[in-house]
Amino acid sequence: MGSVVRVQTGDFDVGAEIRALREGNPAVGAVASFIGCVRDINEGDAVGLMYLEHYPGMTERELEKIATEAKTRWDIFDSLIIHRVGELRPLDQIVFVAVTSAHRGEAFAACEFIMDFLKTRAPFWKRESTPQGERWVDARSSDDAAAERWQQ
């Protein structure tokens, strides 16, 4: 399966995605995954609706680069990154990352690395609707710090 990235408006079925990722590979001893969801509160305000914009073309390239980088750093088999765009609501799934490996340590680390880099490198932007109106979400310095950990 290799490194697969998908940017889509529709939802995804986590069970089906994980089954497909490890299908037919008896060397897989570990699958680590992460699901990001829309929260109903941000910066203390209720969020009713969220819009995810991206930069078509560059988004896929950046995600592929991140997946390739994970594969060079850790002994993993396959990885899958799915990121949704368009209109989303609280409870919706936004992002899914799954990594297969022989052992859990490599899978956990690679999965966390992919998410940390996705948050700071992949060209996605969130606009949210709150009772005070619409606003673009600001980047967080804690996300930069999380990605910088991996440089050491």
């Binding site: 990121h83 998410m115 948050k119 932007w125 969130k126």
Partner: protein
Amino acid sequence: MTIQLLFLARLRERFGVARETFALTDSTGTVADLLTTLRARGGEFAAELAPGRAFRVAVNQEVVTVEHPIRSGDEVAIFPPVTGG
């Protein structure tokens, strides 16, 4: 000798334009030169692209620094720090 200039997310809304064909002049050699020209338009361009404001520039879909050269046919995108995931 033109480039495609793209503005994304909050910057697209502020500038009121998503994409424009931008004519290169002799003085457009680098990203820094392009930013100087855009700031000279004044208004939101001057405010949002002011030195010290947080934005990123990608040339042909790769994030670059201000020293990066710009050549005819390039796709140059200017956008806010990313907030996906």
